[in-house]
């Protein structure tokens, strides 16, 4: 009987523990910038999904390529049809680990810089990515921000020579999570 009770207790503890350490959002924002002498290009996606398990440090981001909005329609069309081929590769996914995530201590107001290592899959290509993220807790609101650069050629994204001067071969990506919500198991 004691053994059964111990098993039930440990199962409950692990389930409760898991429920208390997972955070989630469907309203993250990713922006990217291409700066070149002829033109700056910017796009924004406001529907980024992210799941973060604080105990293990595992973090994941998913974003729909067609969800990126540009100021000019022609840029958006070229981005989807010629560069990222969003009909063929509709999503970009990042899977990684936040170093020392379990030591962050999210119960009190604080801001901490953390290192994130992982793999970004985009345009059918998976490449390692490392970034520094800042995680902030203020009045129980958990936010996160990170910035990193990628080289388009690494993801087999080729820019036609006609517009090569207008698109930087290195793109800066900014990730902003305005409200990580605690996952509550029902």
């Amino acid at each position: 009987m004691r053994i059964v009770f111990a098993i039930v207790l440990s199962t409950m503890a692990s389930v409760t523990g898991l429920a208390q350490t997972r955070y989630f959002t469907k309203s993250g924002r990713i922006t990217f910038y291409s700066r070149s002498p002829l033109e700056n290009i910017e796009a924004v996606n406001n529907k980024v999904v992210s799941i973060w398990d604080v105990n293990s440090g595992q973090i994941e981001f998913s974003v729909l390529m067609k969800g990126f909005e540009f100021e000019k329609a022609l840029m958006q069309e070229h981005f989807n049809e010629n560069y990222v081929e969003s009909d063929k590769y509709p999503k970009a996914i990042f899977k990684g680990i936040i170093e020392s995530s379990n030591l962050l201590g999210l119960a009190v107001d604080r801001s901490a810089a953390v290192k994130v290592n992982g793999n970004l899959t985009m345009h059918g290509v998976t490449r390692p990515v490392t970034a520094t993220a800042v995680i902030t807790v203020k009045n129980k609101l958990i936010t996160a921000a990170a910035s990193f650069s990628i080289v388009l050629a690494d993801y087999k994204i080729s820019i036609p020579s006609l517009v090569a001067d207008k698109v930087n071969k290195k793109i800066t990506i900014n990730v902003n999570i305005p409200d990580y919500q605690l996952v509550v198991k029902k």
Binding site: K26, N46, K47, V49, K66, D87
Partner: protein, 143 residues
């Protein structure tokens, strides 16, 4: 001879001017106002979610990048990033819904709507994550 050269010069200038004007207009074209675009598909929000749940790749072939007019019950109206509003439509009991990011011109109109009300929303389908996602959404009101 001189006159024909002058004519050629005038025609070439006219063509260049028209071409330049067209290029400039096309280059600076803003994304289209969805309220002026006829929908490619009209669908019930619950049925749309079911199609994506059952076979995402097949549903993408049908709907990805298309203008969709979705009808359903409002499950949630959420503020996003301080300045944006997102409307979830579909069965409140379902985990997955149609998630509509409103065109900022419709932020005032959505204040007339409440959770549980029927709504018709037209937008561009961008795919499926946790929900079927639509961008640049406009509210269609029956006249």
């Amino acid at each position: 001879m001189r006159r024909s050269k002058k004519n050629i010069f005038l025609i070439a200038s006219f063509i260049l001017l028209c071409g330049g004007g067209y290029f400039n207009k096309e280059y600076n074209r803003k994304p289209a106002d969805i309220s002026n675009i006829e929908p490619d598909v009209s669908a019930n929000a619950t049925a749309l979610v079911e199609l994506y749940e059952n076979d995402e790749a097949k549903a993408n072939q049908q709907y990805l990048g298309k203008t969709i007019q979705a009808t359903g019950v409002i499950a949630e109206i959420n503020n996003l990033q301080d300045t944006l509003v997102n409307v979830l439509i579909g069965e409140s009991s379902s985990m997955h819904k149609v998630s509509c990011l409103l065109d900022i011109r419709y932020l005032a109109l959505i204040r007339n709507y409440r959770v549980g009300q029927q709504i018709i929303i037209r937008g561009i389908c961008t795919g499926y994550l946790m929900d079927v996602e639509m961008n640049r959404c406009v509210i269609i009101e029956k006249k």
